[in-house]
């Protein structure tokens, strides 16, 4: 894999598309076990990312991710803003200075992102948060030491679906305790969109 700034932009573009297309769906998931704004938040944030990326030139992957991170951080708000922002910021730091990112570095970047989310959210796997998608994805990539589109998408998808069975202990859904069961975690669904978009970007390249 040779992940370039252009691919990084392509990834964000495809992620934005999915978020915008599923804005109402994401909000409705959040309405069931949260406060109903997740789609609105993500759509506002990614809209701003697109605006930013469209108006500038980027040499390095790190620059694209850093710009995206800062934009999400300052536009999304809520719980998901700092988390997605932190994730991309950690990734940008991991690949700093590299014009083309290889599989190994990409996997390291994902590991850093996951660590960042956990630290910022003071959360672990199994609490019905986006970590429940990020952790299995990172684990799979780490085992293989390669970022493969199909594996990425499948892992993210089944992990996202598995959040349905979890009883929330972090985030707004935790207020519902047992009643949070049976509902997908909104942040996990948007995380899935992010990884599905990455898979498409990689496939387009392959």
């Amino acid at each position: 894999m040779k992940f370039t700034a252009d691919l990084a932009i392509d990834w964000m573009t495809k992620a934005n598309q999915k978020i915008q297309d599923n804005k109402d769906y994401l909000s409705s998931l959040d309405q069931a076990i949260g406060d109903g704004d997740h789609g609105i938040n993500m759509a506002r944030g990614f809209d701003a990312v697109m605006n930013k990326l469209g108006n500038n030139d980027y040499e390095q992957v790190a620059d694209v991710w850093k710009e995206s991170a800062m934009t999400l951080m300052s536009k999304v708000g809520g719980a998901s803003g700092p988390l997605f922002g932190t994730a991309l910021l950690k990734m940008s730091m991991a690949v700093k200075g590299e014009a083309e990112v290889d599989d190994k570095t990409f996997v390291e970047a994902l590991e850093d992102a996951l660590a960042g989310i956990k630290q910022r959210g003071k959360a672990e796997e199994g609490e019905k948060t986006m970590i429940d998608v990020w952790a299995p994805v990172v684990e799979k990539m780490n085992e293989a030491q390669t970022v493969e589109a199909g594996v990425l998408r499948d892992t993210a998808e089944s992990a996202m679906e598995a959040t349905k069975d979890i009883v929330a202990t972090k985030g707004r859904a935790a207020y519902l305790k047992e009643r949070s069961k049976g509902h997908l975690d909104p942040g996990s669904v948007s995380s899935y969109y992010l990884f599905a978009a990455l898979a498409e970007t990689l496939e387009g390249e392959g």
């Binding site: 406060d35 704004d37 300052s74 708000g77 910022r120 985030g171 207020y175």
Partner: protein, 326 residues
């Protein structure tokens, strides 16, 4: 959705314009931000107090800006916590050299965004302390509790302490003491509708109420037939009193807070019963607040808050403030 608004996506910025236009001698807005501060911020050598959160809780938080209360309020989108850069702007604007206290309501998003702002401020050499309000007894586990109307008492008492010239550490301790002694619980009769989505946050039948509702319409503990004012007050008080150590002759402050659409007549009926319960237990009400302090857009319902007071807290609660909403 029946609202008096313009563009649903502009409600926050236009609301802040309205607040500044209402109190131009007291409050100003930092250009290109959603931060409003005291007109004379920063006050040199006074600890600055910053609060904020998602919008839709008006008069919280901008209405509590004033001498003896908040120095700045940061407004997020409706029901969405503000971003770190905005909170950072607020911190910078109110730091008068003695540091800044952040009053955060206990939601993942608020905590994360304010914490990141604190890190940014510390990196610039500003002393920042933070307290996390968790007064909603609808949640059993203390650390998971939401911050609701009790937050106003934190603003007031920490603000008075800062006004009195206390250090950041002392102001933080005063705020922590309020947090340790304040308990709230709410009920909803009708949902609220976010302007951007136009959809009610939940549904309730015509004869139902939701006990233990959150101020963003988060589901409560129990959904049941609408009770009388006395029953509702008694139920909220049961939960609150079960979680406090209140003995005869103890002093409390009482807040009966409207969620947005409940007329004051109804709040006074709830207050009547709350006071009767306290009187029966021999608990002394030092001061009562009935009105809209921490709302949820146009939700119908109310919350009851009790704050156990000692002599220090009484003095700080009673000291004057110019905040328009207190």
């Amino acid at each position: 959705m029946k609202k008096i608004i313009n563009d649903p996506n502009q409600v926050v910025t236009e609301m802040l314009d309205g607040v500044v236009a209402a109190y131009p001698d007291q409050i100003k807005r930092i250009p290109d931000t959603t931060v409003v501060t005291k007109k004379d911020a920063p006050v040199q050598n006074k600890v600055g107090i910053v609060s904020g959160g998602g919008s839709g809780h008006e008069p919280a938080h901008a209405g509590y800006i004033g001498k003896g209360m908040l120095d700045a309020a940061v407004a997020g989108e409706v029901f969405t916590s503000p971003t770190p850069d905005q909170v950072f702007e607020a911190i910078k604007a109110v730091d008068g050299g003695s540091g800044v206290l952040l009053v955060i309501k206990n939601y993942s998003g608020d905590v994360m965004n304010f914490e990141m702002a604190a890190e940014m401020a510390e990196a610039e050499g500003i002393d920042v302390a933070q307290v996390i309000v968790k007064d909603d007894v609808a949640i059993e586990e203390r650390d998971g509790r939401r911050g609701v109307a009790g937050t106003i008492f934190v603003h007031k008492i920490a603000g008075a302490k800062a006004e009195a010239g206390a250090s950041l550490e002392e102001v933080k301790a005063a705020a922590e003491k309020v947090i340790a002694n304040v308990r709230s619980m709410g009920v909803a009769l009708t949902p609220c509708i976010m302007p951007a989505s136009g959809k009610p946050g939940f549904e309730l039948d015509d004869d139902e109420m939701e006990i233990g509702i959150g101020i963003h319409g988060e589901p409560g503990t129990e959904r049941k037939p609408l009770g009388s004012a006395d029953d509702i007050a008694a139920e909220l008080m049961d939960h609150i009193l079960a979680d406090m150590e209140l003995a005869e002759s103890d002093d409390v402050a009482v807040m009966v807070n409207g969620m947005g659409a409940t007329p004051e007549m109804e709040l006074q009926l709830v207050n009547r019963k709350v006071q009767a319960i306290l009187q029966e237990k021999g608990i002394n009400t030092h001061k009562t607040f009935v009105g809209e302090y921490m709302t949820s857009l146009e939700m119908a319902g109310c919350s009851v808050t009790l704050l156990k007071l000692d002599a220090d807290m009484k003095e700080l609660l009673d000291s004057p403030t110019t905040a328009p909403a207190f």
